[in-house]
Symmetry: C2
Subunit: 264 residues, 2 copies
């Protein structure tokens, strides 16, 4: 498929010691030369955060002689930025982020550190994708790591459109239970948050954020629906947030002139 | 314009003690009943982060008897979530985030805590907008706080389309120097990062992220270009990241069947 061995940057948001990144590294090594630059600790729900106010530390890590990598004291987006700009000696051919524990579907995509790392790769001009598994416990990585090789091959062969990355979510079942692959759009299902109000041992109030995903009453072509049916969900996403369809209407209700009558 | 006094939630990412939120609160008080729920410290470049792994603390703050508010030990998105779900006794009519020091234009929009707070308001079904000033020093808030009243009035009157918020950037000049208002799209200008490698007093390497905005070679209708011309930039943004135009092509290169020949 590819003559030259592709150079693949692997990162995640669960941290360099998470089991998901280990599975991903082993899978990517089968198809390319892998370098790992990942957060030194778990960075879940950091969204597209970058670290400007603190220094970043980079530490070489050896994973029992099986692979080596760089642990960074920052977010997933920091990892991709520092990898490309300061750690690696050449630009990678591909950025792969994951395998995350917990799906990154629906509204959750905008809070996702896993997706933000792949977004950062795309911003830097490198084809990128994010891999998540729809579970927080008892992960079965084999379908996800197998499919990561497939999708990596497809991307290396076909490329991706400008400013576009792939967000892949894999059901947590044995490979033979995977029902197929579905190209999906991002759903708009959101968490119904609940804040649990508690009292600490010093008698002070604190809150924990919790909640559950609101009922999904969406079409079959959204990410959440696909994984519920044991389909691997592949969503092409991009980071131009402009609502183009509203631009012209907005022009009609906001005059160009700050001294317009309608502003009084 | 509005008969009933609107109930307005004000937040930011520079923290409840920042000068920008003070200007915004005073402006919003002229048109509505204001409640302030904002981070207890600066949370710049936190992106759309939410706090799941730590408890959130909420502290009542009195700003010299002029206004009161709630300081939250979390991100801007946390503030909006906890305000609506646990602090306020009724749903606000409007969420306003800012006035941020530093523009939130181009690629930077995806790293912006200021914008994420307004996004969160929108997710919760509340019309929302973000206000940023294009400077980090010597801020001139008057044009921004005047325009915040205008835009708030327009939104309260017209509403906003589903899943859409407004991202407003104001040039840091005296009001009479503002050249007008421009409805814009999000630019794709990105920072050209540089990592400054340094040695700490214990002889360990650390990095600071820095850099400068790459040259803007974009159309006149992007946010960055507008503010450069002393125009107030108003961009309608949304959080469905799906690249719809690529969906069909992607279907042609990823088969539905995991056992497809092309996967071997």
């Amino acid at each position: 498929m590819i003559d030259k061995k592709p150079y693949i940057l692997v990162t995640n948001d669960d941290g360099i010691h998470a089991p998901g990144i280990n599975s991903l590294v082993l899978a990517m090594r089968e198809i390319g030369e892998v370098v790992v630059v990942a957060p030194d600790t778990e960075k879940s729900a950091v969204g597209h955060a970058i670290t400007l106010s603190d220094p970043l530390r980079v530490k070489k890590i050896d994973k029992n002689g099986v692979w080596q990598g760089f642990a960074v004291s920052g977010t997933p987006a920091d990892c991709v930025k520092i990898a490309v700009n300061a750690i690696l000696d050449r630009k990678p051919d591909l950025v792969v982020s994951g395998i995350n524990l917990g799906s990154n579907t629906g509204i959750n995509v905008i809070y996702s550190g896993t997706v933000s790392a792949a977004t950062e790769g795309t911003i830097l001009g490198i084809p990128s994708f994010a891999m998540s598994l729809t579970t927080y416990s008892n992960p079965i990585f084999s379908a996800a790591s197998d499919f990561a090789k497939v999708i990596a091959g497809k991307i290396l062969k076909n490329g991706l459109p400008e400013k576009t990355l792939l967000n892949v979510n894999v059901p947590n079942v044995e490979p033979e239970k995977i029902a197929g692959i579905k190209i999906t759009r991002q759903g708009m299902a959101r968490f119904a948050e609940q804040f649990d109000k508690r009292i600490d041992p010093q008698n002070r109030v604190y809150y924990w954020m919790g909640g559950s995903k609101a009922d999904i009453i969406e079409d079959d072509d959204v990410d959440d629906k696909a994984v519920m049916k044991n389909l691997i969900s592949v969503t092409p996403i991009q980071y131009d947030l402009t609502n183009y369809s509203f631009l012209e209407t907005l022009k009609t209700w906001i005059p160009k002139d700050v001294n317009d009558e309608s502003f009084k």
